[in-house]
Symmetry: C2
């Protein structure tokens, strides 16, 4: 993740509010470590610059599904891990939590969850939640549209991200705070794993013979056309300070009148244009790969928060270009017949900056089979993956690049899992 | 294709204009049959309602690459085939045409083609067409962006479609005509086949063991989120007459206050909402599959023309929702090592409404191998495919659905082909 982080938790610490009418919201609670890291020793120790421990839940403290977790604080950007983790099991409606989990993370948007429950009929959700028969052919309309129960879960996740973003916006405004974050969420429900991503974290499925991405990153580069399109429709968003066009490099005075490569919102290819004076402005999207920035500021194009964020020393807002909506992918774990070492790895960008999907898969496949008796092995794999981002001596050859960003990693085993939910 | 067709050709009949300055445009030429159908007998005969001949180029009249072609006029919407075909070979710069081809089809946007020529260096196109060295590391910037020669061809096709659309808009306005069309173009250049599609025609690659789509259809259903997003940003485009939201069926008064399935521009999934009065308006996108319509009017969401098209009896414009930009896919025919019966089939929606990709592939694979000596076999396959849309007696079992739309089909063999270009 990139810039402008939520320093404080914005969620109420109290009991779960009744779905309707909503209970009045408590004021934001301060940032704190994930509760499941309590008792892991280093977690509560004061932090020194040259002391960068990798933290995992203490042995004996089980996460749902025996999932593993590890994190490291690298970035020196803040006192805390910027990549904030949460994990829990939740029965919709009855809201039965584990005793020590981060309950407040799960209280978001109860109405969305409620809608899911009623829509989760065996094949197609009902057109009408009240059950009153307005049109006898409703089931046929729903079937013809191909609307399945999983589409209602996808819609609930999409709306939950948006509502969470609105909530954050209100609390930021009420408390005068600033900041934003990306979000990657995995929810297991009725034999399916839903992965919702808004930002540059990533989830992958690792099986013996296959590694499959479960999310795609949303950055100024991957969403270039959407962002340029908005600037085309609303040029005032750039306040005359930026050019919407993309060029292979920043143009300078000597380029004036030359015919150079460019692309605009409607193009996936490239073409040539005569350079005009307005093309010399700073580009809406500039830089390559990890250095790519939106309006010279943000490295991501989706996420939550950042309602007040502006380009340095200007009134140019970032928020209109940021989407809070996640992309949701669905993995049918029921059909997958997971084997003993099949896992989902969810991690923040600090990991993926230095390790490819294939490298992570190779490390998992070589690590897990020898440790099948160890219930802590998934946290150990998460730790090992983080060590590999530190150029550690035990990294395989060629896998010793160094990440200076904070990193959080979940390793979720898929074998023999029931129904439940986990969030990150 | 769907509604509102170009009844007249909008292109000049004169000699190819010099690239710069452009020659003054002649007035639109009237619609006529593709020249390569001359001498095919039925083509020039008067048309009777109960007489629907399938037309192909006469034996002995070769198209470039020995491509095959057939068409049928079904729709009774107009006197002519609405699905207008063209085909030719073209040397960029020298513009050497075959003697009898539809030259004027190839005179569009010469500047785009010119840019392609200069950008087509072996691997990466130059940053700067003038060749003046403004920045010595330009090649490095171009390489880091991953810009390849084929990206310049893609950009040229994207811009050519847009410029063609602007040109059509001007001529429609100048001549007081109305109409629009979709477009599917295949260009072979330097060992690659570029397929550009804006609308609901389709191209597929058929090989012995594989059938691969080379285009995707753009309809109100496939572009729902883009269209709803525009209506969200510019609600005045709906003039208070339509609802942006999608529901499984048209809502009615009895639904008021009920909680029903819906989705909005940001959702790929579905959710529930309480029905309000504004939800009872006619939906921006309504209907299913072939019946799906944009603003109750158009069955496609991309294409050329239709600049003046409005919803019946209103001032609500369709054009803002229509994109003229094609999606371009690239097939590396050099790497493909095509076998003797490998073909690309390009056809208008009338074919794909009743035959699936797999059915067309099966028909091609069973038809072609027995006729390798016949130079006319690709046109015969095109004819046979059209016969299958007529519920003909020789259709394989289960493949006898009937199309009432006009149909045009190109069958392009890939084996032993050199460089050139073909357009549809």
């Amino acid at each position: 993740m990139s810039s402008g982080w939520l320093r404080r938790r914005l969620l109420p610490g109290g009991p779960l509010p009744a779905p309707r009418p909503p209970a009045p919201r408590a004021s934001p609670v301060p940032y704190r470590r994930p509760r499941f890291l309590r008792g892991s020793g280093a977690a509560d120790a004061p932090r020194r610059r040259d002391h960068r421990p990798v933290r995992s839940p203490a042995r004996g403290r089980q996460l749902p599904w025996d999932a593993g977790y590890a994190e490291i604080i690298n970035a020196d950007k803040s006192e805390f891990n910027e990549d904030q983790a949460a994990c829990g099991q939740l029965s919709i409606r009855r809201c039965a939590f584990g005793t020590e989990e981060d309950q407040e993370w799960l209280t978001l948007c109860p109405e969305e969850l409620e809608a899911v429950v009623e829509g989760l009929v065996p094949t197609h959700p009902p057109m009408n939640l009240s059950g009153r028969c307005v049109c006898p052919s409703d089931p046929q309309f729903v079937e013809e549209k191909g609307i399945r129960a999983e589409d209602v879960v996808i819609g609930a996740l999409e709306n939950a991200f948006r509502e969470c973003d609105e909530l954050i916006g209100k609390e930021l405004e009420a408390t005068g705070q600033v900041g934003g974050c990306t979000a990657l969420v995995a929810v297991s429900l009725q034999g399916k794993l839903y992965v919702a991503n808004a930002g540059d974290s990533r989830a992958i499925l690792i099986q013996r013979d296959e590694v499959r991405p479960l999310s795609a990153e949303f950055t100024p580069e991957t969403e270039r056309q959407r962002i340029q399109q908005l600037a085309f429709v609303y040029p005032e968003l750039l306040a005359g300070e930026f050019t919407r066009l993309e060029f292979p490099r920043r143009l300078k005075g000597d380029d004036l009148g030359q015919k150079v490569l460019f692309r605009d919102h409607h193009m996936s290819g490239w073409s040539y244009k005569h350079v005009e004076k307005s093309d010399l402005k700073y580009p809406l999207i500039h830089g390559q790969g990890r250095q790519a920035r939106l309006l010279g500021t943000l490295a991501v194009s989706r996420g939550l928060g950042d309602h007040q964020l502006r380009v340095l020393d200007t009134d140019i807002q970032l928020k209109p270009f940021l989407l809070s909506v996640p992309q949701v992918t669905v993995l049918d774990t029921g059909q997958l017949e997971p084997q003993e070492d099949d896992v989902v790895v969810m991690a923040t960008d600090g990991l993926w900056d230095v390790l490819s999907n294939e490298q992570v898969a190779r490390l998992a496949r070589s690590f897990l089979p020898g440790k099948r008796e160890d219930p802590h092995r998934f946290s150990e794999l998460a730790q090992m993956l983080i060590h590999c981002t530190q150029g550690a001596g035990d990294s395989p050859p060629g896998e010793g690049q160094v990440s200076y960003d904070d990193v959080s990693v979940f390793v979720i085993p898929l074998h023999n899992q029931g129904h439940g939910s986990s969030g990150h």
